[in-house]
């Protein structure tokens, strides 16, 4: 059996359990919220349009954005509740995913519910009144049973949507089958991506068929079928969820953003924590800003960020101090403003840089960004999703006078592919990226020192500020990882042949850093 397949299979109980729990809870909550809306829309012509418009508009918001939007909202609510009741709540992970998926499930349920109830034969409705039913009896005994096939069709659609969309809850910190897809995409482990997709599809199909069984049982009034469908669904949910519920709550949550280096470093930190005899779990694939907010809110306990990123994105600073000065100021400001501890720098930088293929650079005689400026009007720039919105890009552009012929945005894996294949000429690379060496790229020098320092730094949550165990586990990492080793570890995970998993690369890195397991 393929190694990658086996390691994906090992993760299945956890991922599937979390996925099923999230989907089932969202669908149940969706039904609960939709039911009164359906009745409201049926009874009142005036409310019908706004209700249907609302659920339709929710559907037009891209699902990943909907998931992302709930995080800041819950964060604000959590800090409000902290102020008012002295008790916050976890704004990352299950809750934002649950709320977003619940909203997402409502369109088919509400629309089919309203359609089903409004399109009943008026003669049957009059008969219900005529035999002496109250409006409520008519609804429960006649209208709902007759509309049930249409309503069930909506529930089935909602179930399939929710199960599919739940894969997108990974970036807001909820474990799901999407973890296969997001991490697989980052480290180019296509077996994992495929495994995640197929698992989600199979789950959706099974649930859809069981709901179809319930639906046909309702339509043909065979109570046995309804019961069988409901029991199988219930048993399935319990079976899938039980390993998740049974597991003890782990002590330390290590976070990671969504790229290879982060996966490796979070695995390394989790490894260190485990070696201290403590337990650790990982929340990987977090959005760049979400990771810091999650830390400040104690949703995660530790993760690695980069000094320049925190400087510009979190503190909103636009000035450019020296490396040392920046680290000192960050340590102070993060502690004072957020209670976050900057444990130390790992010893390498993952800075924004502009990179080109070596042959192209040689051909044009480009060594520095200043050289690039003269040629930029003939060249195409490929950037990741963040770069063009960042102050570094504005600073580079303005100080060197860069004006590219064309600018394209890529997910970073595809960005490297694009520059290697000549689709673009210059990319926004990261200095620690293993692919720089692998694709034989040159990093252009920055003579004017426009780009901020991006030291990899270990951050601890407010809750763990004085946690001696965690510090003992992580402090040995400070200053222990050089740029060459990080590049090499990244390359081990990113390369196409003979790939390592992030955990394997983390073990290698630990060994190279001379940190012997106890």
């Amino acid at each position: 059996m393929d190694d990658r397949f086996r390691s994906a299979l090992n993760l299945l109980p956890e991922y599937l359990g979390e996925h099923v729990m999230l989907s089932a809870a969202s669908l149940a909550l969706g039904l609960l919220v939709s039911a009164p809306l359906v009745i409201l829309a049926r009874n009142s012509k005036r409310l019908r349009w706004p209700v249907l418009a609302f659920v339709s508009v929710v559907q037009t918001v891209p699902s990943i954005a909907l998931l992302a939007l709930f995080y800041p909202l819950l964060l604000a609510l959590s800090s409000l509740s902290q102020k008012v009741f002295g008790q916050g709540f976890a704004a990352l992970g299950f809750l934002p995913s649950l709320l977003a998926l619940t909203l997402y499930s409502m369109l088919p349920i509400v629309r089919n519910g309203v359609t089903g109830l409004l399109n009943l034969d008026p003669a049957v409705l009059e008969a219900a009144r005529g035999v002496g039913m109250t409006p409520r009896q008519s609804l429960l005994r006649v209208e709902l049973p007759l509309a049930m096939p249409v309503i069930m069709a909506g529930v089935r659609t909602a179930a399939v949507w929710v199960i599919g969309t739940a894969t997108l809850s990974t970036p807001v910190g909820q474990t799901s089958l999407g973890n296969y897809i997001f991490s697989g995409l980052q480290i180019e482990n296509w077996v994992a991506v495929l495994f995640g997709c197929v698992s989600a599809v199979v789950l959706a199909l099974v649930v859809d068929q069981l709901l179809a069984l319930v639906e046909s049982g309702v339509a043909t009034r065979r109570k046995g079928r309804v019961l069988l469908g409901v029991v199988l669904l219930g048993v399935g949910v319990i079976a899938a969820v039980s390993p998740t519920l049974g597991s003890t709550k782990t002590a330390y949550v290590i976070g990671a953003k969504s790229f290879s280096e982060q996966y490796i470093l979070s695995a390394l930190m989790a490894r260190r924590v485990t070696e201290e005899g403590l337990s650790a779990t990982r929340r990987v694939g977090l959005g760049s800003v979400i990771a810091f907010r999650a830390l400040a809110n104690n949703d995660i306990d530790a993760y690695v960020d980069y000094s320049g990123t925190v400087w510009a994105n979190i503190l909103g600073r636009t000035d450019m101090p020296s490396r040392e000065q920046m680290l000192q100021e960050l340590t102070r400001e993060l502690r004072d403003k957020y209670g976050v501890t900057l444990l130390g720098a790992l010893g390498f930088e993952n800075a924004y840089a502009l990179a080109m293929r070596r042959d192209k650079a040689d051909e044009l005689g480009i060594r520095t960004i200043a050289d690039l400026a003269g040629h930029s009007a003939q060249l195409r720039l490929g950037a990741d999703f963040e770069f063009l919105a960042r102050p570094e890009w504005a600073a580079l552009r303005d100080s060197y006078g860069l004006a590219f012929r064309e600018r394209r945005q890529y997910q970073s894996t595809f960005m490297y592919r694009a520059v290697a294949s000549g689709e673009v000429d210059v990319i926004s690379a990261f200095s620690s990226d293993g692919r720089i060496a692998a694709y034989d790229l040159v990093v252009l020098e920055d003579p004017k020192q426009v780009i901020l320092p991006y030291d990899a730094i270990v951050l601890l949550s407010p809750k763990r500020a004085a946690d001696a165990d965690l510090r003992r586990a992580l402090e040995p990492l400070v200053g222990a990882i050089s740029i060459e080793r990080m590049r090499e570890a990244n390359q081990m995970v990113d390369r196409d042949e003979d790939k390592l998993t992030p955990a394997q690369a983390a073990a290698w890195l630990e060994e190279q850093a001379g940190l012997e397991p106890k």
Binding site: A123, V124, A127, A128, R129, G130, V131, G132, T134, R221
Partner: protein
């Protein structure tokens, strides 16, 4: 006031149904379905209400059990103003046979017949016995009880409709073109059977129909409506004998001519011009 032991309605000596000055308009007063209509119906009578489409006959019928709410005037059932009761309480006391049958497609024949007794909270035993009694009464085989209405013929469906209307032992049965959807043979047989039930149970029946022949053959009294008002009201024999109103005379002409032709065929063996 004494309560009738079977119907639960107050016993009184006057008409069982009384409409006084009843008006009903649709489209915000643009179209009148009933115009200041006053009429009384005695207990035990079989009344047919006839008239063209839009004459107000169905509105009049539905105003009796509040399937239509009237704009002005008053309706009394069993001497009691109907707005003194919750509409669903009133409707459980009055049998109703629907145009187009109106059975519940998701309930079995048994459940359809038992629906009003269930609403009234009768015990399961009593309901089961009553359903058996009713299928015998409307001459349906008991083997059909567990079928769904969709599996029955039109005539069988309307027998179920009649059984459902009679289930809670109402004193009054309202019928809205009950046999209109049936073929002529079934229709005439069912009509005659219902007339016998009406006699044996001692019902008061109000039947809306557009078929004058049916009205003449079944009813004790025929009300002819036009434009939301009564234009004739009398025993079939009296209406056939002649009426001052042109519309009424014309409506009576058709069945009379048909009857004469049929008699001629029977006497001479061939139709005459």
């Amino acid at each position: 006031m004494a309560i009738h032991p079977r119907t639960g309605m107050p016993e009184h000596s006057g008409p069982i149904i009384a409409l006084a000055g009843v008006s009903k308009s649709y489209q915000a007063g643009q179209a009148f379905a009933l115009r200041n209509l006053s009429v009384t119906i005695d207990a035990g009578s079989f009344v047919a209400v006839v008239g063209a489409s839009g004459s107000g006959k169905t509105t009049m019928l539905k105003s009796i059990n509040r399937l239509v709410e009237i704009d002005s005037g008053s309706v009394r059932v069993g001497g009691e103003p109907i707005d003194a009761l919750e509409p669903h309480v009133l409707r459980r006391r009055v049998g109703y046979v629907f145009q187009g049958i109106g059975l519940f497609p998701h309930l079995s024949v048994r459940e359809n017949i038992a629906v009003t007794p269930h609403l009234l909270g009768w015990s399961e035993e009593i309901i089961a016995a009553r359903v058996d009694e009713l299928v015998d009464l409307v001459a349906l085989p008991r083997s059909l009880l567990e079928r769904m209405p969709g599996a029955l013929s039109g005539g069988q469906q309307q027998r179920v409709g009649v059984a459902r209307a009679l289930a809670a032992r109402p004193a009054i049965v309202l019928m809205d073109e009950p046999f209109g959807a049936l073929d002529p043979v079934t229709r005439s047989a069912l009509g005659a059977e219902f007339r016998r039930l009406h006699e044996s149970i001692g019902l008061t029946t109000v039947m809306v129909t557009h078929d004058m022949l049916e009205a003449l053959l079944l009813a004790d009294r025929i009300m002819v409506m036009k434009g939301g008002q009564l234009i004739a009201d009398g025993a079939p024999r009296d209406l056939l004998a002649g009426n001052a109103n042109d519309d009424v005379r014309e409506m009576m002409e058709a069945p009379r001519r048909q009857a004469e032709k049929v008699r001629a065929i029977l006497e001479d063996g061939a139709p005459r011009g």
